[in-house]
Amino acid sequence: MDLQKRLDEAAAKHGVPGAAIAVWAGGELHEAATGVVNKNTGVETTPDSVFQVGSTTKVWTAALIMQLVEEGKVELDRPVTDYLPEFGLAYEAEITVRHLLTHTGGFDGDLFEDTGRGDDCLDKYVAYLHGTTKVHEPGALFSYCNSGFAVLGAIVAKVRGVTWEEAMAEHLFKPLGATQTALFGEEAVLFRASAGHIGPDQVVYPKWQMPRSNGPAGSTMCLAPRELVRFGRMALAGGLAEDGTRVLAERTLADMRTPQTEVPTVPGMLATAWGLGFELFDWGAFGHDGGTPGQSTLWRIVPGSDVVLAMSANGGAVAGLIEDVVLPVLRETTGIDVPGLPLPPASPSAVDAAPYAGTFTGPVMSLEVAGADGGLDITEIPGEFMASMGATRKTTRYVHLSDDHFVAAEADGGMHATVTFVMRDGVAAYLHNSRAVPRA
């Protein structure tokens, strides 16, 4: 499939410092790597280099929970407090394990509090969540929730009596036979380890790793793409690792792929539904995407075609790699007309802005929506946390795509952002951009 040439050309064209891809197709593993893992060191990327795989970690954390379900130690529809009595929020709500796995818990999901490097970091994080505010009723809506996955990691740690990292190593890395894995800096340093690159000059992000408190949600795990492929093949093999070791029950994998909640979003590139941990795509694939500052990972598992693809990149316009490498390879290997990235229509239809206009306020930012020529102007007003990360007030023009979906007129990093409005009685109750942001 000439993966190497495609990746080299796409990375050069789209300003990507380094990337690696692994594709299982036609009963073979194909791998390629390009560029450098870190522009400062100039160390070349190899297929066994490790990248921060970000939120793809959530599927692995979900698998650790599902193993506990198989063992009868956790029930999906029991309250989290059954397993973690110390869990609580700033308000009363009965939140179940299933709510957390499906991002439907309804509380602020973007809390990245650094509770230190120590083994007590998840306990401290769970204590910190006691100040967390409500976004919606449990189960009412999908709203991407990092905090919930940190709590799931805390459940794994508590029930197993080990750290989340120890559980990951023992119950997934080991039975899967995964070798290019790291959860701590002291492990990543054993490999060629990728660093994120940011900004117009693609400089190395000054802090190599995000806080350990969000590890189960994806702040720390590093993998070579082939390890995501390994997991994906296990999922396609009904829970069996390559050497026949059972990692998960066949039934569990089926459950993890069964739609649990719909995602208000533009179908195609983005998941339209969530299973237990897995993102589900309307063209037949499942998987997950992930990102840390400057690093991005895309992971697709295609049942029926026996195709698994994982790609990680450490900066630049990753959308270009998706357009030029991922989509063509998926189309060729699966024979499916895999939908591309969302694009603004050539001549957008006029739309009445009134039902959408107003202010929507979430825990990390507010969004002001106003009618504008040919669509909507949406202004992001970062809250304290986002401002501390360098976010500034920014207005983006969106044009109408279909139904209550809108797409940014201009691409940012090669990608046109989308928003979907969740309507109640003809008026937008939530602006949805993977997070549900309620009308103020």
Partner: protein
């Protein structure tokens, strides 16, 4: 050698089976940097002059410098009892708990068991927890009676820094040394090392070490990772200023080292002191899991040298680099490693036979095949990493013996000595170990 150093370093790493090494030196005010080999045989990543190596116990001089900075600010003196600075500090001996001073800690004369390698976690409270765990540490020798290398003492010293500054040792180090000196390639934590090329240690068989580094609690005793140029900049500040008003206070001899053939003749404050061709040389070395570093500073000539290596016969390698380099740069003769005498020496060894023991180690001296034999066993947390080793000893004089591991170019030396109370000790590997039976 200096001109052709790039070539020479590559030759020397081949000779001493070192996977990768780097060298920086300051001579006549000019910095020179060289690198050779690979950082990690598994990944094949090449060593560069900007690569970070673990400098291990060279860190102790940095921790000592932090304390001297606090002393210059009037927060302590070398003779301040540790208990005054850390009321919670406690070791097994109640009298030592009360009377041990900062000077004892920084000159390895406290006698406190120095080899407690206890993992107290990755968190910012790791040094505090380590000091709490020192409560049961026994004495290797009476307080102030001699010198015995003491890692735990430097971790306690690091805790003093934390207590007085209200910061972690890592933060205090960054604010008091890294930042004022403008060091860009010096870190303490692995997630910081990941922004750079970082060396991996290699074990006896040449394979990469099973883990990258030591537990974080060892920080103040040995967890800096840096490129050699940044270590040279630290050494330079001790000659030319930048950190302390009076850095030479740290070169004043505090204790004679009973075995002067291994590291130097005296210990100062943090630094090891020696004399080469009549010139004072202050130095420190470091060893971590498969990595080795040396820093030498020659106040009389202004020369500062740092060599780092990630495996192989690294001690013999850095000694060889120093020998060639100092001869060329300053006309200094680096004392050769003590070896067996040309003519065998007859020594009555009867009184030396027996078991010598300190926490973490047992040394057994016995007669084998007509000669002395030294059996070294680890008994502490590192016991799993180390195999017992037996080395035949050759007499050099009445109290001095040398031996070496099969296939190792490094000779080890052991010196027997007696304290005024009549206890017999053997001084080897920089540690004093009393005879127990």
């Amino acid at each position: 050698m200096a001109g052709a150093m790039g070539q020479r370093l590559a030759e020397l790493i081949a000779k001493y089976e070192v996977p990768g090494a780097a060298l920086a030196y300051l001579h006549n005010g000019e910095l020179h940097e060289y690198a050779a080999g690979v950082l990690h045989r598994g990944t094949g990543v090449e060593t560069t002059t900007d690569s970070l190596f673990q400098i291990g116990s060279v860190t102790k001089v940095w921790t000592a410098t932090l304390l001297m900075q606090l002393a210059e600010r009037g927060l302590l003196t070398l003779d301040t009892p540790v208990a005054e600075l850390l009321p919670e500090f406690k070791v097994a001996d109640a009298e030592v708990t009360k009377t041990v001073t900062v000077r004892h800690l920084l000159s390895h004369t406290s006698g406190i068991d120095g080899d407690l390698f206890l993992d107290t976690g990755r968190g910012d409270d790791c040094v505090e927890k380590y000091v709490a765990a020192c409560a049961g540490l026994p004495q290797n020798h009476p307080l102030g009676a001699t010198q015995s290398y003491c890692n735990s003492g430097f971790i306690v010293a690091g805790r003093i820094v934390e207590k007085l500054t209200g910061k972690t040792w890592d933060e205090a180090l960054r604010e008091q040394i890294f930042e004022p000196l403008g060091l860009t390639h010096a870190v303490t934590l692995p997630e910081e090392a990941l922004r750079f090329r970082a060396a991996m240690g290699h074990m006896g068989g040449g394979e990469p070490a099973p883990v990258w580094g030591l537990m974080r609690s060892c920080g103040p005793a040995g967890l800096i990772s840096a490129r050699p140029a940044d270590v040279v900049a630290f050494g330079r500040a001790h000659l030319e200023g930048g950190l302390l008003e009076n850095p030479q206070v740290m070169w004043e001899p505090q204790v004679a080292i009973p075995n002067p053939y291994t590291l130097g003749a005296h210990w100062g404050v943090g630094w090891i002191l020696d004399e080469w061709s009549g010139q004072k040389v202050v130095s420190h070395g470091g060893n971590t899991i498969g990595q080795h570093a040396m820093l030498w500073v020659v106040p009389g000539t202004g020369t500062v040298v740092c060599v780092v290596a990630n495996g192989g016969h690294s001690g013999a390698f850095t000694h060889a680099v120093a020998t060639e380099l100092f001869a060329e740069l300053d006309g200094l003769e680096v004392p050769p490693t003590l070896g067996p005498p040309a003519q065998p020496v007859e020594v009555d060894v009867t009184r030396y036979l027996g078991v010598y023991e300190r926490a973490g180690a047992r040394l057994t001296i016995s007669l084998k095949d007509g000669g002395l034999s030294l059996l070294m066993e680890s008994t502490g947390e590192l016991a799993g990493l180390d195999q017992p080793e037996e080395i035949p000893l050759v007499a050099v004089d009445d109290v001095t013996f040398v031996g070496r591991r099969p296939g190792d170019p490094d000779w080890l030396s052991a010196v027997f000595f007696e304290l005024p109370d009549g206890t017999l000790y053997v001084h080897a590997g920089a540690r004093a170990t009393p005879k127990v039976s």
